[in-house]
C-alpha cells in the first residue's frame, strides 16, 4: 500500500514535469534541456516568496509557478527564437539549452550559495491512515493538486483557442502556419506553460528536493524519461508513462535499492520503445485502430 501511495504521489509530479518536455518537443521540435534549471528557479522563486512576501501556501505556490513561467519565457527568448529555423537548429537549440542550464546552475551558486533552502509544509503536517498505511497531508495534497492541474491543462488544451493552436502545431507545423497560428506566439505559450507546470512540480517536491543549485538535474532526467516513454506530444501518454515510471521507482526501491532506480527506469524505456517506438501513445493509437 505504501508503494502505491508513493507511486501515485511521484507519478502526479513526474507527469507535470514530463508533459512540458513532451509538448515543447512535439509542438516546437525543441528538446529543452534547460527544463531542470527552470525547476530549480521555481524552487528558489517559491522560497523567495516565502521569505520576502508571505509564508501562505498560495503565495509560495504562486512564487514557484510565476518564476517557472518567467524562466520558460527567458528560454524561449534567449535559446529557441534566436535559433529557430537556422541551419541544424534542433541540435543547436538543444545544445544552447544545455549551455543555459550550466549558466543557470552557476548563477544560482553565485546568488544563493550552495546551501539548500527550506520551504514549509504546504498542506500542513496532519497524517491519516488508510488500512495500515499512513498518508501525510503533503502527499495527498500533492496528488490532488497535481491531478487538478493536469485536468485543467487538458481542459485548456481541448477548449481554449491557444490550446487548439498548440495541438495543431504538434500535429502539423506547416498546416498550423496556413491557418494563422504563429510559431513565435505558440512558442511563448508552450514554454511558459511548461515552465509554470514544472514550477508547480518544484513546489510540490520541495520537501524532497530542497532548492539548491543542482536540484534540477534529476527532475530533468525523470521528465525526459516520462516524455519519451509517453510518446512525445501525448498528454494521456505522458500521464500513463508517469505512472509506469513512478511505479517502477517505488517497486525498485522496495525490492532492490534506490541506486537501481535509474537503471530499471531506462530498462523500462528500452523495452517499451523496442516494442512501440511511439511509446505509450503508440500503444494507445494501436488500441484505437
Amino acid at each position: 500500500m505504501t508503494d502505491v501511495v508513493t507511486t501515485i504521489n511521484l507519478a502526479a509530479i513526474y507527469g507535470l514535469i514530463g508533459v512540458g518536455i513532451s509538448l515543447t518537443w512535439a509542438g516546437l521540435g525543441f528538446l529543452n534541456l534547460a527544463h531542470g534549471v527552470t525547476f530549480a528557479a521555481a524552487g528558489y522563486g517559491a522560497w523567495w516568496a516565502q521569505e520576502n512576501i508571505n509564508g501562505h501556501p498560495s503565495v509560495i505556490f504562486l512564487g514557484g509557478i510565476i518564476t517557472g513561467a518567467v524562466a520558460g519565457a527567458i528560454i524561449c527568448a534567449s535559446v529557441f527564437l534566436p535559433l529557430d529555423g537556422k541551419i541544424n537548429w534542433p541540435f543547436r537549440s538543444m545544445v544552447a539549452s544545455l549551455g543555459l542550464a550550466i549558466i543557470g546552475v552557476n548563477v544560482y551558486l553565485l546568488v544563493f550559495g550552495p546551501s539548500r533552502k527550506s520551504i514549509d509544509f504546504l498542506f500542513g503536517t496532519t497524517k491519516f491512515k488508510v488500512g495500515d498505511t499512513t498518508i501525510t497531508a503533503d502527499k495527498s495534497g500533492a496528488v490532488i493538486s497535481a491531478t487538478v492541474v493536469m485536468i485543467l491543462l487538458v481542459i485548456g488544451l481541448m477548449k481554449s483557442r491557444i490550446g487548439l493552436g498548440v495541438r495543431a502545431l504538434t500535429q502539423n507545423p506547416e498546416g498550423a502556419a496556413l491557418v494563422g497560428i504563429g510559431r513565435k506566439q505558440a512558442a511563448f505559450a508552450i514554454l511558459m506553460t511548461s515552465g509554470a507546470l514544472v514550477g508547480f512540480a518544484a513546489v510540490l517536491l520541495s520537501q524532497t528536493f530542497y532548492p539548491e543549485p543542482n536540484i534540477g538535474y534529476l527532475p530533468l532526467v525523470k521528465g525526459l524519461i516520462v516524455a519519451l516513454l509517453g510518446g512525445l506530444g501525448s498528454v494521456l501518454g505522458t500521464v500513463i508513462a508517469a505512472l509506469l515510471v513512478a511505479g517502477t521507482e517505488a517497486v525498485t526501491i522496495h525490492y532492490l535499492d534506490a541506486s537501481w532506480v535509474l537503471l530499471t527506469q531506462f530498462a523500462l524505456i528500452a523495452i517499451v520503445l523496442l516494442v512501440r517506438p511511439r511509446g505509450v501513445a503508440g500503444v494507445l493509437e494501436a488500441s484505437r485502430a
Binding site: 487548439l164 493552436g165 495543431a168 500535429q171 498546416g175 498550423a176 502556419a177 491557418v179 494563422g180 497560428i181
Partner: protein, 238 residues
C-alpha cells in the same frame, strides 16, 4: 477592378533548383483564375511562393499593392490569404470539428460556429464526421475537410492547389460541382489544376504554366486570346 494580388518577375525554388522563372501575374479582386499545367511545372511552387513557403524567392509579390515578400505565412493567413494546399495538410490527430475551427483560428467562438455551420451545409458529409479524427477520413472526405478549413477563414484571396489530385473522377467531379457553386463573398480565387476541363465555363481566366513560366492566358470561355506571357515569347501550348 483593382488588383488584389500581383507578382512580378518572380523566380523561386528549392535549394539549388530554380522552379519559377520570372513569372508575372496580376489578379483582380473577385476574379477566379485557374493555373493549368503539367505536374512539376511550377503551379504549386507559384502558390507556395506567394505564401512564402519555398526555400527562396526573388522578385515582387504584392497584396493590395503592398509587398508581402517578408510577411510570414501565418500573418498572411490572418491577413486574408488562405492556401489550401495539395494533399490536405490537415491535423490528422485532431477531430474534423477542430480542423475546421482551426481555419477560423483568429476569430471568436460565435463567429467560428456560424462559419462552421455554413461549411457543413456545403459538405454535409463532414457533419456526420465531426467528432472523428481527420486522419481516419477517406481521401475525398479529407479534401472536403481541407477545403472546409480554408473556407472557414472567409479569406479575401483563396489559393487552392489541385483539389482533385488523387481522387476518383466521380468524387473530383462532385468536389468541383461544390467549388463552382461556392459563394466566395467577393473573395478572389487562384486555383491550380492539371485538368483544364474541370475549370472551363466557370473560371474567369485560365493561366497556363509550363517549365516554370506563364506561357499563355485563356479567357474563361475557353477561347485563347492570342496573348503570350511577356518575356518568354512562346505561343500558347496545348
Amino acid at each position: 477592378m483593382t488588383k488584389v494580388l500581383e507578382v512580378r518577375e518572380l523566380s523561386a525554388g528549392y535549394g539549388p533548383l530554380r522552379v519559377l522563372h520570372d513569372i508575372d501575374l496580376a489578379v483582380e479582386a473577385g476574379e477566379r483564375v485557374g493555373l493549368v499545367g503539367l505536374n512539376g511545372h511550377g503551379k504549386t511552387t507559384l502558390l507556395r511562393s506567394i505564401m512564402g513557403m519555398v526555400d527562396w524567392r526573388r522578385g515582387v509579390i504584392e497584396l493590395d499593392g503592398k509587398s508581402i515578400l517578408k510577411t510570414p505565412a501565418y500573418r498572411l493567413a490572418r491577413g486574408g490569404v488562405a492556401l489550401i494546399p495539395q494533399g490536405d495538410s490537415l491535423f490528422p490527430g485532431l477531430s474534423v470539428k477542430d480542423n475546421l475551427d482551426s481555419g477560423a483560428f483568429a476569430t471568436g467562438w460565435r463567429q467560428r460556429k456560424q462559419r462552421r455551420d455554413r461549411v457543413l451545409k456545403l459538405f454535409p458529409r463532414l457533419a456526420e464526421r465531426l467528432g472523428q479524427a481527420a486522419g481516419t477520413l477517406s481521401g475525398g472526405e479529407r479534401r472536403m475537410c481541407s477545403l472546409g478549413r480554408g473556407l472557414m477563414s472567409e479569406a479575401r484571396v483563396y489559393l487552392i492547389d489541385e483539389p482533385s489530385l488523387g481522387l476518383a473522377p466521380g468524387i473530383a467531379a462532385g468536389l468541383y460541382a461544390t467549388l463552382r457553386g461556392l459563394d466566395l463573398r467577393g473573395g478572389t480565387l487562384v486555383l491550380a489544376e492539371q485538368n483544364q476541363a474541370l475549370l472551363e465555363g466557370w473560371i474567369d481566366r485560365i493561366v497556363k504554366v509550363h517549365g516554370g513560366q506563364i506561357v499563355g492566358i485563356i479567357p474563361g470561355d475557353g477561347q485563347a486570346d492570342g496573348r503570350t506571357a511577356e518575356g518568354n515569347g512562346q505561343e500558347l501550348v496545348e
